[in-house]
């Protein structure tokens, strides 16, 4: 992702999203005077969705003060976690640039998508599949800030490591 300091503006479920929410900032971010924060609302309280279901989000970007935003990227992606290299696939991606488009998406915005049939969210032992909505803000200075918000598709129970010897 990006260099510079990490912040925990993303999802509060688990440590990984916290590590993923990385702020790399504009000069103000670098100096510590700017701390962007994205407050995001899902249209399902549980944040659990089913395949082919509609997912709607609304968000509010706080703490950017007078920093000029060059572009905003909004996406719904799934990625793998665990022992292996990370694989990331995008289901929905939208890059908004140009003053009018940015003004429409900052500081408040919303979007809705239809979810795919797969892959379902999965909490395996060495392989995990996670879905998330990301809002990435690009500042005029060339740096960017990303906020990640995890949701689930399906309700697969976590896999347990069954290492017992064969009978």
């Amino acid at each position: 992702m990006n260099d510079a300091a990490a912040t925990t503006n993303g999802d509060s479920k688990g440590i990984v999203p916290a590590l993923r929410a990385i702020a790399a900032g504009s000069p103000a971010v670098a100096k510590g005077t700017l701390s962007p924060r994205v407050v995001l609302q899902f249209d399902h309280a549980s944040r659990i969705y089913q395949p082919h279901e509609n997912l709607g989000v609304r968000y509010r970007i706080e703490g950017i003060d007078d920093e000029k935003v060059r572009a905003v990227e909004r996406s719904a992606v799934w990625y793998t976690e665990g022992k292996g290299e990370e694989d990331l696939e995008s289901h929905f991606f939208e890059r908004l640039f140009g003053q009018d488009a940015v003004n429409a998406a900052v500081p408040n915005g919303s979007f809705a998508i239809v979810l795919p049939s797969s892959p379902l969210s999965y909490e395996g032992v060495i392989v995990k599949v996670r879905w998330c909505v990301r809002v990435r803000i690009f500042f005029e200075g060339g740096k960017d800030f990303v906020s990640e918000h995890v949701f689930e598709i399906g309700q697969i129970p976590p896999a347990r490591n069954r290492r017992e010897p064969l009978a």
């Binding site: 990984v16 082919h52 793998t80 892959p119 999965y122």
Partner: protein, 362 residues
């Protein structure tokens, strides 16, 4: 002062190093290869580095190569240009783009990923492997015959290739030594090399033959299934056919879910496998196999309703499989694996959560 890090490493859930410096380092590396290829190729084409066998001390401008000679001469610079060029193109393509933007830009970066092999998705099911190769063989009693995925076969091929190549080298050395002897010369150094080489060669043949005998001693296993791909909550009719001779103390059939993760460790690419779910479907004791006949059994397998579907991405996957394990009285235990593909459940089978108003994610 913090020096730039051109190489990143995976540290648990995070990566070391800066992506920008990493991309710069990668681009620089490929650019050097590309320029080297052009320079070397240019020198070869211009004749500057051409070599005259009749006058080895002089670099000459030499024309009149055959086409195959040109092909061979330009092979190395061509490879450098192709490898470097594709690398530079990849770096330029992803330069300055976010991870999500890269993921949304399909095509070239995935094709150029040298480590991961992106699995082909089943139509309409992203992240789910296709099962085309599992449904192209009809069964005798049930709909499909499952293909065998046997690691033993690859071991056998490996031993066979090693034995063949090693003994080819030994043969060349032996012929050379024999010709020397016939001409009245004795090259003791060659003989000293030949003896241990021949011993390893004989050992390679013995290991290959022993592995071959073990692999073929237990007769072929056949699994047929009533439908494919499978779905969570579904029950499927399965036919097992086991040929061979001798007495098996136990024969067991398992339904397993295996996770597979590929990662870099230093300069190596490693793959870790872990069975995370296993269910013994059927078990038989004291099975007697007679020549010409075969042991047959028909039974049902059930896929749990809340099971994870088969999943495959470039470096991670979740596999379903039927596994037959046998313990013979006179031979080592054997394992045979037959892959399955489980699709996500149809929408009505999924439990619907209770919804309320907008949920705030801080």
């Amino acid at each position: 002062m913090k020096l730039p890090q051109f190489f990143g490493k995976k540290r648990g859930h995070r990566r070391t190093g800066s992506q920008a410096w990493g991309s710069f380092g990668e681009g620089f590396f490929y650019a050097v290869l590309l320029v080297s290829g052009f320079v070397f190729g240019g020198l070869v084409l211009s004749g500057t580095v051409a070599y005259s066998p009749t006058d080895p001390d002089t670099v000459v401008l030499q024309h009149g190569y055959d086409w195959w000679m040109w092909l061979l001469t330009l092979l190395l610079p061509g490879a450098l240009v192709a490898f470097g060029g594709s690398g530079v193109a990849r770096v330029i393509r992803v330069w300055g783009k976010s991870d999500e933007h890269r993921a949304a830009s399909m095509g070239l970066p995935k094709l150029l990923d040298t480590m991961g092999q992106a699995a082909q998705d089943a139509p309409g099911h992203p992240g789910v492997p296709t099962c085309e190769n599992l449904v192209n063989s009809p069964g005798t009693l049930l709909r499909y015959r499952l293909p065998l995925e046997s690691p033993e076969s690859w071991t056998l091929i490996g031993f066979g290739l090693f034995a063949m190549l090693w003994n080819a080298v030994v043969l060349v050395l032996a012929v050379s030594a024999g010709l020397d002897l016939l001409s009245g010369k004795t090259d003791w150094l060659l003989f000293m090399v030949l003896v241990p080489f021949a011993a390893v060669g004989v050992g390679g043949i013995v290991v290959f033959v022993w592995t071959f005998l073990l692999a073929t001693a237990v007769g072929p296993t056949q699994f047929e299934i009533s439908d494919h791909p499978l779905a969570p909550g579904g029950s499927y009719d399965v036919l097992l056919g086991q040929a061979g001779t001798g007495r098996f103390r136990t024969l067991e059939v398992f339904l397993e879910v295996e996770e597979l993760a590929t990662f870099r460790q230093g300069t190596d690419t490693r793959t870790e496998r872990l069975v995370v779910w296993r269910e013994r479907v059927k078990e038989w004791h004291d099975v007697e196999l007679t020549p010409g006949g075969r042991f047959e059994s028909r039974f049902m397998i059930d896929i749990p309703a809340d099971a994870m579907h088969s999943f495959a991405s470039a470096h991670n996957s979740v596999h379903w499989r039927i596994v037959l394990r046998g313990l013979s009285e006179s031979r080592p235990a054997f394992t045979r694996i037959f892959p399955l593909v489980v699709f996500p459940p149809p929408a009505p089978l999924l439990r619907r959560p209770v919804h309320s108003a907008w949920q705030v994610s801080p």
